[in-house]
Amino acid sequence: MSFSVTSELKNGIAQFTLVGELDAAAAGTFREAIEQAAASQPKRVVLIMNELTYMASAGLRTLVFAKQKMGASVDIYVVGVQEPVRETLEMTGFQYSVVMLDTYNAAEIENI
């Protein structure tokens, strides 16, 4: 299954919706989207993953890249991960670097 990413920047929140399989071939696309968003210095990154079915090592690295590119002060929210992707994030310890949520409610997060 091919990969697609859509992004929007609203109120300083960069939100990406990831669909399909994030493997080595797709990682470049996502990386470019991250770089573009980083240029506008968002205060938060939200990754909607409800429809992401697979994440390979290269995909994981793009998340690490996002974290490093945005800087330590920018929180990253990973939302709605499916089980196989969740396992990948957990087994590799990446879940400690992000906030994992089942659903995302911007207003709620704002009050945390």
């Binding site: 690295r61 974290k67 990948t88 087994m91 310890g93």
Partner: protein
């Protein structure tokens, strides 16, 4: 400005490439491609073989043009490879003349000795495709793990409490309750248990990629599939075992193992690897071509003048560790694990082989051991030798140490075992073992001594007190394998029993062993599960079982909670008291003018140790005023040991004015009064002494 050497100069069958960089060896990510570099001292020709992951046939074979070789190194950058879907190997051509040591065969596809991940056994014990001509395949890895602030912990050697475990055995049992049993990820779920126990160093039995199917066979009587379970047979020295990773099926074992190391470090636990540089999985002249044999046989292996394999390892071949080329590979390997995986220390299996010359003769000044001791990247790593080999070299106490190397102290194991089972005439030996074996390590300090009563090789602690003889029938070798010099004692019945008296004695002996181990100077090592009486049913060499025989039954944590509690209290006691963790040998003198020697020896009467050949009682006192040479203050500690079958009254020495004796542990009384939380010990009722029960140990603290 872009570099000018990141563009292809050559093309073959649609694959673009250019001359590579000899350094670093192996397959390394570079801008736009992958740099492949391999060396052979005797090869004439080399071809890179590329596969799509799992495919039986190569997708392309690119012969290294002559211009791509510098010295004995062939290197090439191949562009636009699918990093996650590529497997690689080499064909290497040269003379086939075994009598000269050469076994080149270009029909074989060979694994890169520097491969950082190896495919082919991605999921534990899944039947491989035996028809595949290339069984163990080099893979490409990302080495850009996100370590955050992590780095090796550099815990002082004297403060370590080591826990030796097998990755799969630790959590494979259904009772472990982890999400991915038997994996690196499984261990991560049990870090809380390790912390509660109190250990601060996890020593993992081999995790370098090995083939669990090597020498696999079906037990002739039981029909059970037997494996190369322990993994002391390396395929590749740079690759973690995929089958130990829940993510191995996705090729992410590197990330998963690094995540485990990072999390253990976050919890204050160091990670040691048991490394096997004495031989490889290629066996002797009858064994398969996997890697070294076809790449540079004469360099990698110790060969007889006729070209046969020396067998100092007992497994068919012997790695030629003091050949300069192999030496560098070992050094590269350890540097890689220390820097890329943040490994804190290494335990070298059959390390005496590392001190043999290419001819097999022991060297007085082995360059490999010296190189490791003085290497800048390994400078803070702990180096531990199993100081013997299967060729008859036994160097416990005399391993070339260069001020760095510690040893598995086999004499500690044997001495404590004999003493515990009540053998007479052991008190003199015990005085050495309890104080870090100064008779063996006079200039090296007590931290040269890794103290252990049990290890993976031999009985578990429970079995040490439950069996007189080994029971290895399940191994399929007619009970001939495994050691016979166990110094074990079954306490009156061979194996499990309902006899409450025998069971009580066994429980006391388990606690006695833990108590002695944790009050000894040196570095204690506990075998996985011994803290809750794990059994292997008398099997003292369970190297080929992937079954309940080897798995840690977590039901024991509850069933034997009293023993687990005792162990964790003992470990906490050790951590609480500097006097138990000296960096330098005790002198028996009062070098600080405190009025007390740093250690004093006693018998049932203070100041009168019984060193006679019939003695089974011994006591010692450590002066808190002399902790670490007087550099710090601690409580006084008094340990009374009675391995006699009768109880004895022990009178401890006089404490400084105002201090009183408190009983920290007494293996002769029932839980929970067998051990107390350090600092909360009850005061000894009669300060003049106490009765130490038959076969019991008492530990008191003076404050």
């Amino acid at each position: 400005m872009d570099r000018v050497d990141i563009y292809p100069t050559h093309e073959y069958q649609g694959y673009k490439f250019r001359p590579g960089k000899p350094f670093p060896f192996g397959a390394t990510s570079v801008p736009g491609g992958v740099n492949f570099s391999i060396y052979s001292s005797h090869a004439a020709d080399c071809t890179l073989v590329l596969f799509d992951k799992g495919q039986p046939q190569p997708k392309v074979e690119i012969r290294f043009p002559d211009a791509f070789r510098i010295g004995n190194v062939w290197s090439m950058i191949v562009f636009d490879l699918d990093y996650e879907n590529t497997e690689y190997g080499y064909r290497v051509d040269g003379p086939f003349s075994p009598e000269e040591g050469h076994r080149f065969d270009p029909s074989k596809i060979l694994l890169d000795p520097y491969a950082r991940a190896i495919g082919g056994r991605d999921v534990w014990a899944v039947q491989p495709n035996w028809n595949d001509a290339y069984q163990h395949r080099g893979r490409l890895v990302y080495d850009d793990f996100d370590w955050d602030e992590d780095h090796p912990l550099e815990t002082p050697m004297e403060d370590l409490v080591i826990y030796e475990a097998h990755v799969r055995s630790f959590t494979r049992h259904p009772s472990s309750g982890v999400k991915f049993p038997g994996t690196f990820a499984g261990i991560r779920e049990k870090i809380g248990y390790l912390k509660e126990l109190g250990i601060n160093c996890l020593e993992l039995m081999p995790i370098y990629e090995f083939d669990e199917w090597e020498n696999g066979k079906v037990h002739p009587d039981t029909g059970e599939q037997l494996f190369n379970y322990w993994g002391y047979s390396t395929l590749g020295f740079f690759a973690p075992k995929a089958g130990y990773a829940a993510m191995g099926k996705l090729g992410m074992q590197v990330d998963e193992f690094k995540a485990l190391v990072k999390e253990l470090h976050r919890n204050g636990i160091e990670v040691f690897l048991d490394v096997v540089f004495n031989h490889t999985a290629e066996g002797n002249e009858q064994g398969p071509y996997i890697s070294f044999k076809g790449i540079d046989n004469k360099t990698y292996y110790m060969l007889t003048p006729e070209g046969y394999y020396f067998n100092f390892s007992g497994t068919g071949n012997t790695l030629n560790c003091n050949n300069p080329v192999v030496r560098n590979m070992v050094l590269d390997c350890l540097r890689y694990w220390a820097s890329e995986y943040h490994i804190d220390g290494f335990r070298f299996d059959l390390a005496s082989i590392l001190g043999r010359a290419p001819s097999g003769a022991p060297l007085s000044n082995p360059p490999l051991l010296e190189s490791l001791a003085f290497d800048p990247i390994l400078a803070k790593c702990k180096l531990i030798a199993e100081a013997w080999d299967a060729g008859g070299l036994y160097q416990v106490g005399s391993f070339p140490a260069y001020g760095r190397w510690a040893e598995w102290n086999g004499k500690y194991r044997d001495g404590v075992r004999k003493f515990l089972k009540g053998e007479a005439g052991m008190v003199g030996d015990m005085a050495q073992r309890l104080t870090g074996s100064p008779d063996m390590y006079s200039t090296r300090g007590p931290t040269a001594s890794i103290n252990f009563v049990t290890a993976h090789d031999g009985f578990t602690l429970n079995d040490l007190v439950s069996y007189n003889d080994k029971h290895n029938e399940a191994n399929g070798e007619g009970n001939r394998d495994g050691g016979n010099d166990n110094e074990s004692w079954n306490c009156g019945w061979e194996g499990p029993t309902d006899d409450p008296g025998i069971n009580a004695l066994r429980r006391r002996q388990l606690k006695n062993a833990l108590a002695l181990l944790l009050v000894s100077q040196g570095v204690p090592m506990i075998l996985m599960g011994d803290e809750v009486a794990r059994t292997q049913y008398g099997n003292n060499n369970a190297y080929n079982h992937d079954s309940e025989l080897t798995w840690f039954d977590w039901g024991l944590v509850e069933a034997n909670a009293d023993l687990g509690r005792f162990a964790s209290k003992l470990i906490a006691f050790r951590h609480a008291h500097h006097v138990l963790r000296n960096r330098w040998h005790l002198s028996g003198q009062d070098l600080t003018g405190s009025g007390y020697p740093d250690i004093s020896w006693h018998g049932t009467t203070a100041g009168q140790p019984d060193w006679s050949g019939s003695s089974r009682t011994l006591a010692f006192m450590l002066s808190g005023k002399n902790a670490r040479g007087g550099a710090t203050q601690d409580d006084f500690i008094y340990v009374a040991m009675n391995t006699h079958w009768d109880s004895h009254w022990f009178g401890p020495p006089q404490l400084p004015e105002g201090m009183r004796w408190h009983v920290f542990a007494n293996t002769g009384v029932a839980s929970p009064e067998d051990a107390w939380t350090p600092g909360q010990e009850p005061r000894l009722e009669d300060q003049s002494g106490l009765t130490v029960g038959e076969r019991s140990v008492v530990i008191m603290v003076g404050r």
